[in-house]
């Protein structure tokens, strides 16, 4: 536990040996197998997919669709038709709001989110409300960083058509009790969207067991490349939804008068997709699948516990977000120091953290703080990284 047995799998950590990388909630580093998958694809298989005119294209298509199967297995989707490639979580949520949204809500209908959402799970719904006259409501967050369950239940009585919640808070690490929340939301008749961006690297996701209708996540936060992500959607809903972007790949037959669209999942994938990204993301999933999930979870929980207790010993430091269930994220503040000042001084000492509002301004407003310093951990971090963080924090504190 002093070290991480996974560290050697990540070339960047070797190439930047002095760096203490604790910004994993923003993006994770990539294992060698992912870099190799990208190089192998462009070196051996690169061709456009679904054109079928030659062998190379067939191979690229096979690898691309095998990647979709890998992702479908990883999240336990019923079929790979329910797995849409997107650029990431943001685009996935925009797709739901843009295509499903107008089918689901009209004037006066409620859409329910929470105060802890990332802006990408707020602004698309605001825009949908502006277009349709629907009304956006947000469940309150308690000072602990947990959802106010009474407020959640009260908001459900307004019978929202859509409930969109994060699985894990990016700013605080709070893990929401999805089985309960989804159960109640569905009983109230809502369609449930989950922002899983911060969950996929740390937890096994089972969309069937969760019984959510949509689940969005990004590849680059789970050791895959940037620019590729997934929207899982329940097949009946996806079937009923109109195309979102239009062009090549998503059509069956185009006449000037009328177009018929391709079946799922291609209806939602206009244009040449991120083929290499999808294949490399599948390599990242294979990498995760090969690890002992319990060992990873224990290691990350150990980092969280050690960081929490170590930082709590720094006088004047306050951890923001004290939920009983948390991902490996510690957000904190000094009473009298601006988080940006702390972040700058940590950066000078080779410790990479995120500072500021973490794209969750409503959450910061609700907690009455300008932002936080956020250290977020991954399987390749070790106890020594936490010690270096705490040492750098003490130095910063002495200077401010």
């Amino acid at each position: 536990m002093k070290d991480s047995s996974w560290r050697g799998d990540f070339p960047l950590l070797r190439n930047r040996a002095d760096l203490v990388y604790l910004d994993n909630a923003a993006t994770t580093q990539k294992p060698t197998v992912v870099l190799d998958a990208l190089a192998r694809y462009y070196g051996c298989t690169n061709a456009n997919v679904h054109r079928g005119a030659h062998r190379l294209s067939d191979e690229a298509t096979a690898a691309f669709e095998a990647a979709r199967e890998t992702l479908a297995r990883r999240i336990n989707a019923r079929s790979s038709r329910e797995v849409l490639w997107t650029r990431g979580t943001t685009e996935a949520i925009n797709l739901v709001a843009g295509s499903y949204g107008p089918l689901a809500v009209g004037d006066g209908d409620r859409i329910l989110i929470t105060e802890m959402e990332h802006h990408s799970n707020i602004v698309p719904w605001q825009q949908l409300c502006q277009r349709t006259g629907a009304v956006l409501r947000a469940v309150r967050v308690l000072p602990s960083g947990e959802l106010d369950r009474d407020d959640f239940d009260a908001r459900l009585e307004e019978q929202p058509r859509i409930v969109s919640i994060s699985h894990v808070s990016n700013a605080l690490g709070t893990v929401n009790d999805l089985p309960t929340l989804i159960g109640r939301a569905k009983s109230a008749g809502a369609v449930v969207v989950v922002d899983g961006a911060q969950a996929v690297a740390h937890f096994d996701i089972d969309v069937a067991a969760l019984d959510c209708d949509f689940y969005a996540f990004s590849g680059h936060k789970m050791y895959g490349p940037t620019g590729i992500g997934v929207l899982y959607g329940r097949e009946e809903l996806l079937d009923a939804m109109p195309p979102w972007q239009c062009g090549g790949e998503m059509i069956e037959r185009v006449r000037i008068e009328e177009t018929t669209f391709a079946p799922l999942p291609f209806k939602f994938e206009a244009g040449t997709p991120d083929i290499s990204g999808a294949i490399a993301l599948a390599a990242a999933v294979d990498y995760l699948d090969r690890q002992d999930g319990n060992a990873v979870a224990t290691h990350e929980a150990g980092l969280l516990a050690y960081a929490t207790s170590s930082l709590n010993q720094v006088e004047g430091l306050r951890i923001v977000g004290t939920a009983s269930a948390k991902g490996p994220v510690v957000s904190f503040l000094f009473e009298d120091a601006h988080p940006h000042d702390v972040g700058t001084l940590l950066d000078q000492q080779g410790v990479a953290v995120r500072t500021g509002h973490h794209c969750a301004m409503p959450l910061m407003d609700a907690l009455g703080i300008p932002g936080t310093v956020r250290a977020s951990f991954s399987l390749y971090n070790c106890l020594e990284d936490v010690d270096k963080l705490c040492q750098a924090v003490r130095t910063a504190k002495s200077m401010l």
């Binding site: 601006h338 940006h340 000042d341 700058t344 001084l345 000078q348 500021g356 300008p370 200077m399």
Partner: protein
């Protein structure tokens, strides 16, 4: 009401920075001169006075005294206040012409400032400089 004037002169900043070779000393000095700045009264810390492009909140209030631009700038972050002290030392109580003629990039190079700032922080500093320049340009004939 008199708004804050620059507390530290350019000569002081130049000579003191020259003594430092560690990042820690430079930052400690930045934090010190930032703390020495008189804070902007709350009434001026409003959205209309915010400088766009800064990661931290930076409020800038310009005022002309004859042909001289009097600047009051403040931030909620100490290190940014230190950078503000440098900007004020270079620009406060100068004419628009003097401001536009002053080689601020040269000063930043001389202090080796950008090398010690994250790109985001550096962009914020440039946003501040850009704001002062645009005010100066509005008040220059030609």
């Amino acid at each position: 009401m008199t708004l804050a004037a620059s507390a530290t002169s350019l000569d002081d900043i130049r000579s003191t920075f020259g003594f430092f070779d560690s990042w820690q000393d430079k930052y400690a000095f930045l934090i010190d001169i930032g703390k020495a700045l008189a804070p902007l009264p709350a009434a001026y810390r409003v959205d209309d006075n915010l400088v766009r492009g800064c990661q931290s909140q930076v409020w800038l209030v310009p005022r002309f005294d004859g042909d001289r631009l009097k600047l009051a700038i403040d931030s909620d972050a100490h290190i940014v206040r230190g950078l503000i002290a440098i900007v004020l030392a270079a620009y406060d109580n100068r004419s628009p012409r003097q401001i536009l003629d002053f080689d601020i990039e040269g000063l930043f190079d001389e202090l080796d400032l950008m090398g010690h700032l994250s790109p985001t922080r550096g962009n914020g500093l440039r946003a501040m400089v850009g704001k002062v320049h645009s005010i100066a340009r509005e008040h220059t004939d030609s």
